[in-house]
Symmetry: C2
Subunit: 380 residues, 2 copies
């Protein structure tokens, strides 16, 4: 059996994702689609709307065969680390291909990689963000513009794959419909961006959501519970108000005195939206600040984020996916975790476990204790 891998968040799983799964199988001839999916926190530094089990379920219903968690240490990270984590998981799971959506399937990754900056001070300017400096540099060097988030991710997938010995064959797929960050749903269209869909959901505009997501996603979303930053804000606000600045500064990525700014803003901000507006400066992107908020919310220490994937936490599988897992289980290079035990929960899985327990505090739904991988029949 041959598997094509996808790195995804499915926040939430929509028609574009289902289309991508079909395309990935068609173009590669793979028997199995393996997904490395963010867990309860996504790359942008937000709690996922639905939890990892609900999202795995919608992915299996939408054609995925095996869903494995991209640990938070990789998932809630800038694009290059997110990509490294995903590629590591898919490589460990013996995938042959890595399929990914892009607006520019013909992008010349080799040329970009031949012009990587070697001088780290390239990115030490105070009036621009890291991402825009990076893109500017590559454009200067190669004439290629990495305009969209997907282009940037695609580039980092290629780079991560090279770093890991090119075990995966890259399969860029032309994206269907909207750009990843388009914030509107076009009437009459079956495809929309996850960003636009989340906004419609949080606004309670279900009529907009119906045409652009599979029925399983719709049913799961309507059942909930759905989580967003505003629900977490009272806890983070309390934490910021009580913590000494020196204690905040010990957390991952809390540097350059931003802890004082965060503390001051917390006292004054009744909502997360206000908080983010108050702390935003030109220096940091919204996404970076939101990830910092996520690191603080989970009280993440640097050592917890500096690890590459160390386990394969299985969230769900189809019959085919289960068979595939059985076939490869003697060859996987990382331990498979289908049931969380105490060693995992207090050891390498401590951060994902903690994030899960915090989600349970708000939703009442257990995340790792006693949970087993979801199967297609579970949603019937």
């Amino acid at each position: 059996m041959q598997a094509v891998g996808i790195i995804a968040e499915y926040n939430p799983f929509h028609n574009g994702h289902a289309y991508q799964i079909r395309q990935a199988k068609q173009q590669t001839g793979a028997d199995i689609v393996v997904v490395a999916m963010s867990g309860n926190w996504v790359q942008r530094g937000e709690p996922a709307l639905l939890d990892k089990w609900q999202r795995a379920q919608t992915a299996i219903a939408g054609g995925a065969d095996l869903v494995v968690e991209l640990p938070m240490a990789s998932a809630m990270q800038p694009a290059h680390l997110f990509a490294q984590g995903g590629v590591a998981i898919l490589t460990a799971l013996r995938c042959q291909w890595l399929a990914f959506g892009t607006e520019h399937p013909g992008m010349d990754y080799q040329r970009l990689m031949a012009h990587l900056p070697t001088d780290p001070t390239t990115f030490k300017r105070f009036d621009q963000t890291y991402a825009s400096l990076f893109q500017g540099y590559l454009r200067e060097q190669t004439g290629i513009t990495l305009n969209t988030g997907n282009d940037i991710l695609g580039f980092f997938y290629a780079l991560a794959n090279r770093l890991m010995g090119r075990s995966l064959q890259l399969v860029p797929l032309a994206r269907k419909g909207s750009n990843h960050n388009d914030s509107t749903i076009v009437a009459g269209e079956r495809f929309a961006s996850a960003t636009a869909i989340r906004q419609a959901i949080l606004a309670g505009d279900w009529a907009q959501v119906v045409p652009v997501v599979p029925s399983t996603t719709l049913a799961t979303l309507r059942q909930g519970p759905l989580l967003d930053w505003e629900q977490l804000w009272p806890q983070l606000r309390y934490l910021l108000m009580t913590s000494a600045p020196t204690d905040l500064a010990k957390m991952y990525q809390i540097t350059e005195g931003i802890e004082y700014r965060l503390k001051r803003s917390a006292v004054a901000s009744a909502t997360f939206a206000t908080f983010m507006r108050t702390v935003k400066t030109k220096r940091y992107t919204y996404t970076r600040l939101q990830r910092q908020a996520g690191y603080l919310y989970n009280q993440v220490h640097p050592a917890e984020m500096l690890q590459r994937p160390q386990y394969l936490r299985v969230l769900g599988y189809s019959t085919g996916g289960q068979r595939y897992l059985h076939t490869i289980k003697k060859q996987v290079s990382l331990p498979l975790v289908s049931r969380a035990n105490r060693d995992w929960q207090t050891g390498v899985g401590a951060l994902d476990t903690r994030a899960g327990q915090l989600r349970t505090l708000l939703t009442g739904i257990p995340q790792d204790d006693g949970r087993i991988p979801v199967k297609p029949s579970d949603s019937e």
Copy 2:
């Protein structure tokens, strides 16, 4: 003008407190009653039911002339440190007497003080609490039994006063009605313990409360907002679940590995009552554990609790109290703080400010920003 001092919590202010104020004036002939009162956290490690301004208001209405905050670094402490803080405040405010309620006004404090333990290892047994070891030691040495909380407090007032050069004259007053810790309100009685009154209030049994508190207290209680540990538990639970044990162990009084026990219990406990039942062992009293919970809730570092009172935070005064303050203000040995400014809030007053901000998070009522001392007319 001569002032008699009282150290109190007024949680809430009841008829016994009003009686004590009258008694203190009568027995001493003082013109003015000065009260050093716990702020938003009380000695037992609980948030006060009403905030410090509301409680100062009820005290002024009940006959107190000047109410000054006993800083949290002194208030939320075992009896000997609580007593030291109170005596320091009243001494700084030029009081001549210290009046306090006791079940045994004839207690021989001199004899007790002559037999203090000098060997610190006296209190290193693992099957008994510090308090009971201390009482046992004094009983062995002197034949005197310190049975009640008030006896113990009275003894520590005497001790603190001796340490500070005996500037206050002790005035033990026979208590009216129930023992401090009696948990019932006797029908037909005008006096009950604060403990019993709190329980009736939290049970919503107002008919029991009416006869035993002044009308101002009753009105203030009915208006609220009232705070108890259960309302704070979601925040503390979140903090315990996210914090690394090594970070918890940096907080005041978190020693001997109790941080692991607290973390484990937090995950499993939906209520503060369950949490306390789960962590309780013979080793620690309920009160000590509750104070530890309070230190953690406020993320209190050791350095913040090891300071003697450094300011006189004025919460309220009567016309007489205001005149007295005017008379003594050139002679007070600590700075008077009638309006909190930024220096105080970020400096010596940082802990009280933080505790106030956290209370505001839950009640919406500002505690230090822009607040000025309450006066009798404020309640009309």
